[in-house]
Structures are given as C-alpha cells and as structure tokens.
C-alpha cells in the first residue's frame, strides 16, 4: 500500500512527478492527473489505464531507455526518467492520430494488400511502414545515462531448486503453499508478481467464509474476525515466517519449460526455478467488452478500479458508469461509492439482480439501476465524457428506442473473467471449454503439475481455499512418493533427513476435501454465477466501427468479421492474419473475445472453435533479464601477467588470450631468424596417453606410423576424419613403450580429446587418455642462439649428437622439471619446453634473463605466422578446411596406405584414385609491396581457380609470400597465377618448395 509520508520524485516526459513509496509509475501518473499514458499501435488513439494489473498494453512506457515496460507493474524509484512511446511530437498531440480518420483505407491485412502494387515500390513502402510500426525505440546511445541507469544496469541470474513451486500468491496459492509445507513437510517456493501476497483479496473487501476455519492452514492462524484483510495479513505472515517456504514477490513466472522449470523474472534477475511438483494458482484476467470507443482513457476493468482504490488509495474519477455482467460488478460500484465517486448508473446485462449485500448498498445510495441493459458506445476524444447504454433482449440484441445517454468521466466494465492458465497450457495440460460453466477447465494434468483456484475456473472464496489446500497436499503426497522411489535407488539419497508424513491419513483428508469441493461446485452458488454471463453479450450488434477486440495491435471487431469473411475462419489462421493476440499482452485481453467472435461468426460453440497455442514468455520479459549476467569464460596462460607487462597486443584464440605481438612483429621475426626468440605456446593441446594399446590407438587415429617410433623420439602426425579430411595435426612423443605425450592445435584439442576417448572406448582399447593441456605451460625457444641461451639454465647436454632434432629429453630448466622437445614450427633450431604451469612466471623470467646477452625477443602469434609461412608449415583449420585431404594439402607423405587400418583409409584410397582436383601451393607475389588478404580469389579470366589461405610480407626474404589452393593444372613450380587483391588483379608465381631453408638444415643444427 502507498505510504504518503514517503514521497518519491521522478520525471514523465521531462515533467517532475511526485509519488509515494508503494506507488507504481502508473498510479503515480494517475495521481498527478495524467490520464493518457500511451498511443495505440496502428491508429495512434490515446490510451490510458485499463486493467492496472500488468495485463493490457495501454500503459507501456520507456523507463531510463528500457522501452515498453508496463508502468502499472513498475514501482516508482527516485530519479527515474519515464517517457511515453509511439507518439510524436507529444503524447497529447500525436500527428499520426490522423490515421484514425482514414481507417477505412487500412483494413485488416492491409500490408499484404495495399502496398503490394506496383511490386517495385515495395522497398519505399517498407521504409515508411517500418518507421510507423512498432512501439518503443531502442536508445543506441550507451552514454546517455550514468552508471547504474539506462544501458548500465546490472542483470543477474539464479537457480532455485524446490520440492513444490506454487505460482500465484492469492488465496489458492497461499493455502497450497502452507499445506504443502505444513502438513506435507515439503520445501516450497511461492512466486507472485505483486509486491504483496493475497491476490484478489487485496482489493476485493468483504468477509471470508466460515468453512475456511476448518482448514489446517487457517486453523493455526487463530483469527479474531472474519475480515478478508485480516485473513490475508495472517496467511501472508504465516507464509513469510515459515522456514520451509521461500517467497519471491515482484517476481513474474513467465514460462514453463521442460523438467518443470519455471522461468521467473524478478527485477533485473532471472531465476530458473526447478520444482519436483508445480502448482499453478495464477488467478484470472478480467475481460473487456467490445463496444464503440471501448479503448478510450477512463474506461477501466472493474478490478482495475478496485486496484486504484484499494491498492493506491486513489479516487478514480468524479462520476462513474458501472457496466456489470456478473456479481463482481456490484462490489465495484459499492467500492466507487465508498471512495467518494458519484455513480451515475449501474447497468447489468442480466435480467435479474443478484442477492448480494453490494446490490443493497448501491440501492441504498440511490444509484439508478437498470437490468437487461448494457453499454453500446462511449463518447469522448482524449478521455471519456459520456456513454450510451441500451436495453437488450434475451439474445443480446439492442432494443430500439431504449438508449440512455449518461455523462461520466469513468466507465467500469465488470462482465467476464478468463482463467490465467497459460503456464498450465505450456506444461501440456489439456484444457477444454465447459459450456455449462462458460469457462475453461483442465481435463487432465501432466505428471507433477497441478492447478488451483481461479486459474482452473474454481470460483468462490470457499471453494478456492479448499482447492488450494487440496493442491498443496496432493503435491506434497506426490513429491513424497517420488522421493521415496528415488531413495530406494541410492543409499544416501536426497530427502533422507526429512521425516515422511503419514500417507494414509493424508489420502483420507484429501478424499474428504474433494467431496466437499465437488458439493460446492455442484450447487449453483451465487459466487459461481459470475461466469454465467451469457457469452452472446460480450458485444452487441451495432454498425459502429471502433470496437476494439485487440488493444495491442488495434484489431477491431470489423477486422475480425472481414477476415472470417475472407476465409480465415479457423482461430489459428485468424490469429495469424489479423495478428489478434500476437501483441505484448499475448492474448490476455483479446483471446477470449476473439474466440467468442469467431464462434459467433462461424456458428460454432466456443469449445468447437478451440483456443490458440500458449507459448512462453507469457508476459513481456526484458532482454537483459534473459541475457543475465555476462559469463564468457576466458583462459589465461600462467605467463599472462608477464605478457601484459611487456606491452602485449592481445588476440582472442577461442577462449584464450594470446599475445599477437609486443609492438613490432617484424623485429620479432628478425630476432628469431638472427638470434633467439621466445613464445608462449601454453595453449597447445596436450594429451597424456598410456596403456598397452596406446600404440594401436595412435596407428588407427593418425594417418602415419607410430609403432616403430623409438622411445625418446618425436614424430609429426595428421588425423583425418572418416571422409579423409584433415582435422588436426600435432606431434607425438614416445615416453615409454606404452606411454605417449601428444600435442594438438589450440583450437582442436577439445575435439581431439573427445575423438581419442570415443574411439578408445569404441574399440575397447586398454588405454587412458588424459587431457593435460592446463597442467603444463609451454614455451618455444627458437633461433640460431637458442642452444646458447638454454645451456645457461638447463642441466642437459644440448649438443646436437646428444639431443638431436625430433628427440625429446626430460631435464631441469631453471631448476624446474621440464620436458624438452626439439621441434621447429618456426623453422629454426629450437626447443619446445613443457613444464608444470605453476612455474610459468619463473621459467619465462629465467629464459629471458639467460637470453639477455644475445638480445632475445619475446614474439607473438603474428611473428609465428610469418615464420611458419616462410617454412610453408600449414595451420590446420586455416590452410585446410572441411574439404582438404592430406594429398591436396601437399602432405601425401604423411598418409601410409600400407597400414592395416586407420580412420580415413578408404576415403583416402578413393581420393587417390580420383586424382588431385586442387592443391595447396606456395606463391610469391610479383610486386613485393602487395599482400593479398586471406580468402581472396585466384582467377583465370572470368573463371575462379583458387583462393588464398595465408599471405604475409616476409622480412627475411624481402618478398610477399603466401599459400593458396589452386586447381591441379596450376599446382606446379613456376605457374603464373592472378590474385584479385582487394579487387585488383595482381600477379604471383606458384612455388612448391618452402620459401626458407628448403632442406631444413637450420632445424637440425
């Protein structure tokens, strides 16, 4: 409730508004006398508060650059900047409103018809239409708001697990929660979208039924009076105090997802609630009537008026007309009188007056009352100024000459409700229309889902309280049975610490309650009569056009009639053609009326007409909430801080951050070629493979041989898919007969590890594959002076004969146990040193210190790319793609077809037989100043004959070089090719040899 001692100030379209704590934006604006909150989607007609419950689209506003928020659901916060949407130049004078005068030119589906001819004009039409369409606008300026506002909001995410989830904190939900937690001993999460619990009891005063006193959950409360507000306070207090109940208020359950997971948006947090049992007690929506000008500001749903009065302490207007079609309307009239509003008249479409204290109150106040009357039209331009009511016959047809004009500034419409059963629909619940109740009731529930109260068309407070108790106890019973079942399968299962309740007495209790409820539903209680409203009376026949069915998309009754006349007479196609129920309210305001209209026009019953599918999200959810907190995993090597200190420029390599260079990649290349360089290669994939079948696994997964690889030696290997496509490469080191250490590419390791594990299991090989990528840091120390540098910190004999190329040794580097591999991706003699990652900083620093006298340089990925390109070493995935086999990649030598079996063997044999179609070659640009981009085309006249995969200027050679796939005819030494460099033809010459040190002498030094 509103606390008038605590003022809060915010702005609306720049104007300062003073509100009170407990106000929503909408109630505060209403208090400030602002009646027009938005403009309609299509005709830009003024719109104001209607449901005051977050159901209708009339109060959407932009708050601090977040568009389309329901202002009746957003609590006021000091300093918030609220703006209206879809209106220009101002909310009061929106020039697009002119469309309203020409609405006959914009019939249903007009965008499919009017703007189609001539066809070539469509792009122009589209531009205009796109400008006119839509509601809110995204603010592209991230800096318009300071920290903590606008685009700088913090969004959060949480997972909750519970035994029983109850959605809806009204009387049914409260009783369900208390029963499930109390008698049932279950952990309960209760979710409600309002700031306080109680549901409709918060704004519908009156006594509570005495039967409720017998229910265990109410018994314990020891209530003194039979006042509803006391009941709500006591129930809500009991729920909040219960240790096993978690209460989430201002939390919207927007969707049901597999596994009984409910998506909940609470403020700026997304909560994924997973429940063993779900109880949907989401209440119901009041429905508008369809009459001329039924969208004018000042026309409210009855419960909307009650919310204004009881939740926000507002006087809705000066003079009201109340249009009733059920008992609830009379209480609204009584509430209006109580709030000091003059009630001009109460009309009830039924031919009788109910026996209700509220009717007597209205009569006593001397209010004119007419039964068999309903509203035909409202008057006014910006706001309601009056209405015309008319007498109707038994079929809902207006009787000529009975019309009465009434001056009023508020119209309350209290005629029908529809169950809020969206979550039930989504969970797979079968729901049918019960013609005798004129309401939608569940036929059967899916496992672990239940409904209670208004959401399943249970009406009358007595029945609702009972229904909630039944759902709570049933859920607890089902939960207990399922946990006992799962406890049997694990010796120490969940729930072992809970004290189970007596199932037999619970079942007896349930049987009794169910009998009571059936009795209640059978007798035509007055309360149940609220849905006895004749379905024919939601709209009376009249020729006037502005009878809105859908307030989101501005679909009128005539639009729907026209669409049905055009053949869209199935409710699903009708929905898609007219867009009725497809707007922000997702059918809360229009679905029932559209179905009834469709039924009426096609001469079917409502049950025969059927319903449209309900999908999540059931209410609008901010994209920020769905996105949640930003959680993008990042991997750092253990030398990261050292790279940062040396001024590294970063490159994202998958999740890794790698130094691209430290300022001058060319100097880094020269340093490696002339002296020595050090690069962090910790991101390399590393696998420890052991077991008696390890050799066999390697033989089958790589295309080349490993059986003969001596212990202490290293061999390069390529893995192919079944189709003979290269998918990763690396080196294999033999540590022992049955123990290997392999490397894979940074990007390929995850796939390689899975591939090896999968095949090892498939073939039942006795091996263990362990991914040790993270356990080892690795550096490559390379260059003519690398040996001299390493010798200062390493205890091994590094002489060529003691430690030759393609050999591996274990020794200490800077006193750290290390594995040294003599391999040379960059084409100079060098050592790849692998060591425990925790020593990363230490070893890095020690090697740099040892290399100071030869002016060692750290080098990054860019230099490495140039260096390996000079050697024509491929990067799998860059120079190869999903069509590259080893022969094409100029590595035919790596395929040993004589091997008994390996993955890709058959495909590769077939590919060999077919002959080469295209091949990976090197090329040298004629003009050393021209470097093509990776991916640029190689052409012969008009024909495409290849593509560039890598290209760089080589400082070592003073030439521009690269690698490219070209057709077989061009794949020979000296062939001339034309590369379209940035679109310009440039000449290059094919080469099949490495550009640098073709004999590999420098590697073997």
């Amino acid at each position: 409730m509103v606390d008038k001692t605590k003022p809060v100030t915010f702005t609306f379209n720049g104007r300062a508004i003073t509100a009170y704590e407990g106000d929503t934006i909408a109630s505060a604006l209403y208090r400030a006398g602002i009646r027009v909150l938005s403009r309609g989607f299509k005709y830009h007609r003024p719109r104001g508060l209607m449901c005051v419950a977050g159901h209708c689209p009339n109060c959407l506003v932009d708050v601090d650059a977040t568009p389309s928020l329901r202002s009746c659901m957003v609590p006021v916060e000091s300093g918030m900047a609220v703006r209206s949407q879809n209106a220009w130049p101002s909310l009061e004078r929106d020039i697009m409103n002119v469309i309203d005068r020409f609405s006959s030119l914009l019939p249903v589906g007009f965008y499919y018809k009017t703007f189609m001819f001539p066809r070539r004009f469509w792009p122009h039409y589209e531009k205009v239409l796109r400008n006119a369409a839509g509601l809110g606008a995204i603010d592209p300026d991230p800096d318009r708001f300071e920290e903590g506002r606008g685009h700088h909001l913090y969004y959060d995410k949480q997972y909750l697990h519970t035994d029983v989830t109850v959605v809806g904190g009204g009387p049914a939900g409260l009783l369900a929660a208390l029963t499930a937690a109390g008698q049932g001993g279950a952990r309960v999460t209760l979710i409600d979208e309002n700031p306080s619990l109680g549901g409709h009891l918060r704004f519908t005063p009156g006594p509570w039924p005495s039967l409720a006193a017998d229910l265990p959950a109410v018994q314990n409360l020891a209530l003194a009076s039979q006042n509803r507000s006391e009941l709500v306070a006591a129930l809500s207090g009991a729920v909040h105090d219960h240790p096993a109940i978690t209460v989430l208020t201002e939390a919207t359950a927007f969707g049901w997802y597999e596994g009984n997971m409910i998506g909940v948006a609470q403020g700026r947090r997304l909560i994924k609630v997973r429940a063993a049992q779900l109880i949907v007690a989401t209440g119901r929506f009041e429905q508008p009537l369809v009459f001329h000008n039924n969208d004018l500001p000042g026309i409210f749903l009855g419960t909307g008026l009650q919310r204004l009065i009881h939740l926000y302490g507002l006087k809705p207007g000066r003079r009201a007309l109340l249009v009733s079609g059920n008992d609830s309307g009379w209480q609204v009239a009584a509430d209006l009188l109580q709030a000091g509003v003059e009630v001009a008249m109460v009309v009830d479409s039924r031919p009788w007056l109910p026996d209700d204290p509220a009717v007597r109150q209205v009569e006593a106040a001397g209010v004119p009352i007419k039964s068999s009357y309903t509203i035909e039209a409202a008057h006014g331009r910006q706001y309601v100024t009056g209405a015309r009511v008319v007498q109707i016959d038994g079929n809902g047809q207006p009787l000529p000459g009975t019309a009465v004009e009434i001056a009023c500034d508020v119209i309350g419409v209290a005629a029908a409700f529809v169950p809020n059963n969206g979550l039930l629909y989504q969970s797979g619940c079968k729901i049918r229309h019960d013609e005798s109740l004129a309401d939608f009731v569940p036929l059967s529930y899916p496992p672990a889902v239940l409904g209670a109260g208004h959401a399943v068309a249970t009406d009358g407070l007595e029945a609702i309280l009972l229904d909630g108790s039944i759902a709570g106890l049933t859920a607890a019973l089902q939960w207990q049975q399922s946990t006992i079942k799962s406890q049997r399968s694990t010796s120490n299962g969940a729930g072992a610490t809970r004290q189970p309740f007596d199932e037999q007495s619970a079942k007896e209790q349930l049987t009794g309650w169910q009998a009571q409820l059936t009795q209640m539903k059978r007798k035509p209680a007055e309360a149940n009569a609220s849905n006895q409203h004749s379905p024919a009376l939601f709209s009376i026949a009249s020729s006037q056009k502005k009878k809105f069915v859908c307030f989101c998309e501005d679909v009128t009754e005539k639009d729907i009639q026209d669409a049905i006349a055009e053949g869209f007479d199935n409710v699903e196609t009708l929905k898609r053609y007219t867009t009725v129920s497809m707007g922000p309210c997702q059918g809360k305001m229009c679905s029932l009326n559209a179905i009834r209209l469709c039924a009426r026009e096609t001469g079917q019953s409502v049950a025969e007409t059927g319903t449209t599918t309900s999908r999540p999200p059931f209410t609008p959810v901010k994209l920020g909430v769905l996105a949640g907190r930003k959680m993008e995993p990042v991997r750092y090597t253990s030398m990261h801080q050292q790279h940062a200190e040396r001024g590294a420029h970063w490159l994202d390599a998958g999740q890794w951050k790698r130094p691209e260079h430290y300022g001058d990649a060319t100097a880094e290349v020269r340093s490696v070629r002339e002296r020595a360089g050090l690069i962090d290669v910790s991101t390399l994939g590393k696998i420890d493979l052991r077991g008696p079948d390890a050799v066999q696994l390697l033989e089958r997964l790589y295309t080349n041989r490993f059986a003969g690889l001596p212990v202490g030696q290293i061999r390069y290997g390529v893995m192919c898919t079944d189709e003979g496509i290269v998918f990763d490469d690396g080196v294999v080191c033999r540590l022992a007969d049955d123990h290997f250490y392999l490397t894979a590419t940074t990007g390929g390791i995850t796939t390689v590890y899975e591939w090896m594990t999968w095949w090892a299991a498939a073939w039942k090989f006795r091996v263990h594959v362990t991914n040790v990528t993270s356990a080892y840091a690795a550096v490559n120390l390379a260059g003519p002076k690398a040996r001299q540098v390493l010798a200062k910190v390493c205890d091994l004999d590094l002489a060529t004969e003691a430690f030759p190329y393609l050999h591996l040794r274990e020794g200490a580097v800077a006193e750290v146990p290390a594995r040294l591999l003599r391999i040379g991706f960059v084409g100079e003699m060098g050592y790849e040193i692998h060591f425990p990652a925790g020593y990363g900083a230490h070893v890095w620093a020690a090697l740099l210190a040892a290399g100071r006298e030869v002016r060692i340089t750290t080098f990054g990925l860019e230099a490495q790319r140039v260096l390996r390109l000079e050697k024509r070493h491929i990067i799998a995935g860059q120079d190869t793609d999903a069509l590259s086999d080893p022969m094409g990649a100029d590595m035919a030598w790596v395929v040993k077809q004589a091997k008994e079996e390996f993955i890709g063997k058959r495909s590769l044999a077939w590919r060999n037989g077919r002959g080469l179609q295209e091949q990976l070659v090197g090329f040298v640009m004629a003009d050393s100043g021209v470097v093509p981009l990776e991916g640029e085309q190689i052409v012969a006249g008009e024909q495409l004959i290849g593509r560039v995969t890598s290209a760089r200027y080589s400082p070592t050679l003073g030439q521009s070089i690269g690698m490219a796939w070209v057709i077989a005819a061009k794949a020979h030494e000296g062939a001339d090719i034309t590369i379209l460099t940035h679109g310009e033809p440039t000449s290059a010459t094919v080469t099949c040899e490495p550009f640098y040190d073709p004999m590999g002498e420098r590697l073997r030094m």
């Binding site: 959060d156 995410k157 949480q158 997972y159 909750l160 697990h161 994924k272 997973r274 694990t490 010796s491 120490n492 969940a494 729930g495 072992a496 610490t497 809970r498 907190r629 959680m631 993008e632 995993p633 990042v634 991997r635 750092y636 090597t637 253990s638 990261h640 801080q641 890794w656 910790s682 420890d688 052991r690 077991g691 006795r766 263990h768 362990t770 040790v772 990528t773 993270s774 356990a775 080892y776 910190v793 800077a814 006193e815 750290v816 425990p836 990652a837 925790g838 020593y839 990363g840 900083a841 230490h842 070893v843 620093a845 020690a846 210190a849």
Partner: protein, 222 residues
C-alpha cells in the same frame, strides 16, 4: 637466480587485494588479507573465498582404482559414488566408477604418485594434475546462495549434504564441486581447469558483491 616459485592462477588478484604471502611447499600462498578476526567474521556472517590452488591433485583411473586407493591410503569409499573420504589430510573424490581425484596438503602430490606407482597395479593410470587445476574454497553462511547464482546444481542441503561430490558446469566451465563444511558453516571446494582460474575467481566475486564477499587466507584456513 630466484628459487622456483609456484604461483596460483590468481596470484595477481591476491596482490591487488593486498595479500601477505607465505611460502608453502614452494607455493606463494596468501597468509591473510586482513586480520584473522575480520576474515572470520566475514565467513561467519556472509561468505568468504580462499585460494586452494596449492593443493596436491592427482587423478587415478582404471578398474580397481578405488580399491587401490583404499588399500594404499586407508581411504575406503562409500558405495554411493557421491561422497568423499578423508584420512590424515588426504581426500579422495569419486568422479566416476573408475576415476578418482586425490587431494592433499601442498606438496603432497609427489608422495601420492610414488605410493600408487609403487603398487604397480596394471591398468591403472596415475596423473599429477596439481598444476592443471585451480581450486577455490567458498565458505560461510551465504556460500550456497552464492553458488546458486553461478551453478545449476541443487547444492543447498539436503540435496547435497556435507561430503558430497559433483561435477557440473559452473559459470559455463567444467567444475568439480565438493561440499566441505567449515567450522559448522556451509562451505564448498571448487576445482576448475587452471587457465579458467582468474575468470572463475572474478565470477565468484561478481556474484558475491551483493553479499560483501571477501577473500581469506592460510591463517584462517589452517
């Protein structure tokens, strides 16, 4: 030359947070960030986080791995496959039916590997992953709540009682999570691949900001 120092993947974060370091088995371990009393209060009333990356971590795989561990270290596992077993500071976690992760105080990994290899059981693989995993200890009244913001598993008691072990996605990376209560307060050990260490540390601090999360050191741990 400096003696080789072992650094945690979040060493830089400790420095930024003003940690005082001590050396434990060559690891640079944060001794404390504030007074013992202050750190204890944070843990008791809210939630604190300590770096456990210095722990010895060894995986044992293969048929009979559980029996070998039980024999070698007197660490018999419960048959449920979900609970840790501990003896003399050594902890064994069942990961699958034939894969276990052994955790030891700093520097204990060499001895574990030596003992297991000495047993010479065929078909069993022992790999030292001490440097491959980062470990964090999340302790305090709000630790389960904090985890509910970054992990989808039901980690709140009674679904996950003290001593239980689980593997899950945590902030989008693979994690091994242990419920390991501390001084009567709920607490969890979390192990992720070392390169993700700083990222996960940052995620924990981000999620714990609303709780006033603070780090604590070796002095409160021991």
């Amino acid at each position: 030359m400096d003696t080789p120092a072992r650094l945690s993947p979040v060493h830089g974060r400790h420095t930024e947070l003003g940690a005082r370091f001590i050396e434990v088995a060559a690891w640079q371990v944060p001794q404390a960030y504030r007074s013992l009393e202050q750190e204890a209060t944070t843990v008791r009333e809210r939630v604190g986080v300590a770096d456990l990356s210095f722990k010895g971590k060894v995986t044992v795989k293969g048929d009979g791995a559980g029996d070998l561990i039980a024999r070698t270290f007197q660490l018999a596992h419960l048959p449920d496959g979900r609970s840790l077993t501990a003896n003399n500071g050594l902890i064994s976690l069942p990961l699958t039916a034939d894969e276990f992760l052994l955790l030891s105080p700093p520097g204990g990994e060499d001895e574990i590997v030596r003992c297991l290899v000495q047993a010479g059981e065929p078909g069993i693989t022992v790999v030292d992953l001490t440097h491959g995993l980062a470990g964090f200890f999340l302790a305090g009244a709000d630790s389960a709540y904090l985890l509910s913001k970054i992990c989808a598993l039901p980690l709140d008691a009674p679904d996950f009682p003290n001593g239980h072990v689980a593997q899950s996605s945590l902030a989008k990376v693979h994690a091994t999570i242990i419920r390991h209560d501390h001084d009567g307060l709920p607490a969890f050990e979390i192990y992720v691949e070392r390169p993700y260490g700083e990222y996960v540390w940052d995620v924990i601090f981000d999620a714990g900001a609303e709780l006033g999360i603070a780090p604590f050191g070796w002095q409160l741990l021991s």
